[in-house]
Structures are given as C-alpha cells and as structure tokens.
Symmetry: C2
Subunit: 230 residues, 2 copies
DNA sequence: CGCGAGCTTGACGTTGTTCAACTAGAGTGG
DNA sequence: CCACTCTAGTTGAACAACGTCAAGCTCGCG
C-alpha cells in the first residue's frame, strides 16, 4: 500500500508550479502541514469510489487511471500523468469520491488535505479560479468523451483512444500502451474482444503498428479521418 | 427572438434566493446593472454551442434543454427548470459555449453578464463556493448519465429518462412529456424508432400509460428494476 | 516444466439501426 | 369547408453492429 516518504518542503517542490504558483509562503506552509508523500505500486488503488474524500492527490511520477465502477464493467474517464492534480468533484457537494483512481504503473504522489486546501482557497482568489478552471475543463473533456462514446462506432472510438494517448499522454506517435486490452475497452466503451478486433483491423490496414503493448501510428491522416467519420 | 422586458430590481427578485443569497445589496446592484430579462418562444435557441459566452442565464419560467450538437445527432445532457442557472463551463477556460441551450416551451429568464458575475465572485467567497458546487454537481450528474448511456441497454436507458422526468423535473408520477420522441431518443442515446418501441413495450406490459405526450408511471417498482438491471 | 493471466480468433446470437411505408393531426390557402 | 402539406409518430422487415461464448494461444514467472 501507500508508503509515507520523508516530506520535503513544498516551497522547493517543482509541483507547486502547476497549481500553487499564486500562493504565498505562508499559504504553502499551511498546505505543507498536512501533507504526505506516497508511493503506489502498479495496480494499487489511490482513491476508491464511494469513500470519503479527505485528500486530493498531486501525481508527481507515474500514471494513473480515473474510472467509474459501473454495473458490470468499468468506464475509464481519463488518464492522469505528472504533474497533475486529481481532485474529487464531490469536494463541494457530498465529500465523497465519485470515481476510483488507481496507479497504472509504479507512481508517486503527494496527498494534500482537503481542509487545508479549502482553507487556502478561501484566502487566495487565484487558486480558486485555477481550481474552477480545472473543474470546467474536466466537464468539457467529459462532454467530448461522452459524445464520442454514444455517437461513434467502434473504429471511431478506438481512434479516439489512440489519439488521446498519442497527443495528450505521450505526445508522440509511438508509445508503450499502459492499458491492457480490457482497459482500452473500458476506455472506449466496448468489449475486450471488440477492441482487439479493431486494433487488428487498423494493423492490417497499415494504420498502426502493434507489437505487444508498443504501438505506433503509421498513418495519422487516416486515423484522424476514422476519428471524425465515426 | 429574445425580447427585452422592463427590468425589475434584483433585490426583490425571488430568483436571488437560489444563488445570490449571500450577496450584499451593493453586489446585487453590480449584477443588476448589466442584466436583461428576456422571453423565449418554444424552440428558440438561448445559447449556441461554439459562440462566445458573455452571459449566463437564470431561467425564471418554462423549461429548457441543454444539448451537445454531435456528429449527426444531438445528445441532450439535461433539462433545466426554474429557478435554475445555466452557466457555461467555458467561463473559466475558453469563454465559449460547449453546449447549446434552447427553450422547450415558452420561457422567461434573466441574462446576467459574465463580467459582472465574475467580478462579484472575486469579492464574495460564498458565491464562488456556490458556483463550484454547481460545477461539481454537473460533473457528477454527467458521470452518471454517461455510465447509463454506455453500460445499459435501451430499456434501462428509457427507464432512466422516465424516472429523471418523474423525479427530478416534474416530481410526480404522471406528467406531460415536453420532449418529442426524437428528443427522448437524443436524451437516451438511441434512434427515434427504438425509443418508440421501448415506450410501446413498457405500455404493453402495463408499466406506464401513454396517451400522446401525457405519461404516467403505473408500476414504479418494475420500472426501477429495469433501470437497475440495465 | 507447468500454471495462469492476458491476448487472440471464429462462430453465433442478440441488440439496435436503417429504410420504407403508412397514419394521425395541425395548420394553410383556395 | 375541403384538399394539401408538413411534421411527429408508428410499424415491420432487412440489415449491420456489437457482445458473448468457447477454444486455443503466448509468455512471463514460480
């Protein structure tokens, strides 16, 4: 499970650049007081859907998946890479986690107490606006994802997923896919077998190269075409 | 199109109870300065996806639908009833509307300038927290909707829709459905014909009563069962 | 060497869409 | 007042998309 590491000081941490730029040293200290650095092994759960959300996480290394535990399947909402924050939307409603988060690979992060975070947010307007921006973007991304899932056919959805990894996560045309086929299916809203079949089709048509989990986009143009036409 | 009405004073408006309770008279005045009361006829567009969002709307009477214009179909995200606010999530990112909103029936509302709203939000912490709460709840609702759309079969999704109207919108077991079958299909992520067929099945099984657009839930228990089992 | 988890493939059945035809009711103009 | 038209609703049949099931495969690991 999560292991507490010796805390360094927030003021020197490179992570503060992402959200906490606007804070004074005093405000950083407040956050520093109730904060844990933790490590997670691949597969370990960071937040569990339904549990109370008393901490938010800043992912400092590794990769994590955010997913909803549905009826029989999971729905993967997004992948988080460092340095990025995972903040439960229940923070200002029922104080619960509405999704689960787990580490895809060995990861490290920093747990920040919600209470301290809220306290600072009440003092610091810029942090509050930064936070609203994040919430808003999450909502907008979610819209896009939902439209894709409900209105595109499987090839379009797999194209969405591949381009998401290529553009947003790895920023490269070739990458090591961290998701299993099962998880790729959970991200694309289909069965594992279907995901595999579409990947194979893409491979047969020379659109992508797949060797185990290392993937490369060979024909970006066609993949984008498939993404658009559904 | 939208017609400007003579403005009454915000301080006496019953709508302020919903979001603006915490404001001082001076803050209310600030909002009052750049504010329009408007009426919309059924079918008229209130916000258009992609356009800049310079106003937010407080719906004071009528009903509106919030929807994304997708590839070939629309996806209805939610129905808004009075008194409720429609705030573009792009407010703190790209200042654009990421969904369209249109009146389902003749409606009235109050357009509030985003600039004034933001200005007051910077002064008034409670309003900011209220706003975050709204954004969060929207996100959470959207999660549920997405899971339903991607993991349930058609009967479950129609059950979702019927219960949404019964519980959230009309708060009654019988109601006049404002959505056309086409729109009901857009809300449930299926084709118009499929929506009609499921409604008919429910009717044949005695779960609901349908006469034109007036609907009644006869067997709530079975409907909830269908909702759960997908 | 064998075990197990993830991966792959094919055959098959189900779910849901598309298409085309038809109906009912609400205007509209002669 | 009666065609005419237009839109929403409805139905059935053919078809495509997708999931399920069962079997076999691969590869890392004990």
């Amino acid at each position: 499970m999560a292991k507490k590491l010796e805390s360094q000081n927030c003021e020197e941490c490179h992570c503060k650049k992402v959200v906490f730029t606007a804070l004074t040293d005093a405000e950083l200290d407040l956050i520093h007081l109730d904060r844990f650095q933790v490590t997670y092994n691949a597969g370990e759960i960071i937040f569990k859907q339904g549990s109370p959300s008393t901490y938010l996480l800043c992912l400092t290394s590794g990769l994590a998946k955010v997913y909803i535990e549905g009826l029989s399947k999971n729905l993967i909402l997004s992948i988080i890479k460092p340095v990025e924050y995972i903040i439960a939307p229940g923070l200002y409603s029922d104080n619960r986690h509405h999704f689960s988060v787990s580490a895809l690979v060995d990861s490290t992060g920093c747990l920040i107490a919600v209470n301290s975070f809220k306290k600072v947010m009440r003092q610091n307007l810029e942090l509050a606006e930064e936070f609203m921006q994040r919430l808003s973007n999450q909502l907008i991304d979610n819209f896009d994802h939902t439209v894709g899932l409900t209105q595109k056919q499987m090839p379009g959805r797999i194209a969405d997923a591949l381009l998401y990894f290529s553009e947003k996560i790895y920023e490269s045309n070739s990458f090591e896919m961290v998701l299993t086929r099962q998880e790729l299916a959970d991200f694309s809203g289909m069965s594992t077998e279907s995901a595999i079949r579409i990947l194979k089709d893409f491979k047969d048509e020379g659109i992508i190269e797949v060797r185990k989990n290392s993937m490369a986009i060979l024909n970006l143009e066609r993949l984008k075409k498939i993404q658009e036409t559904g």
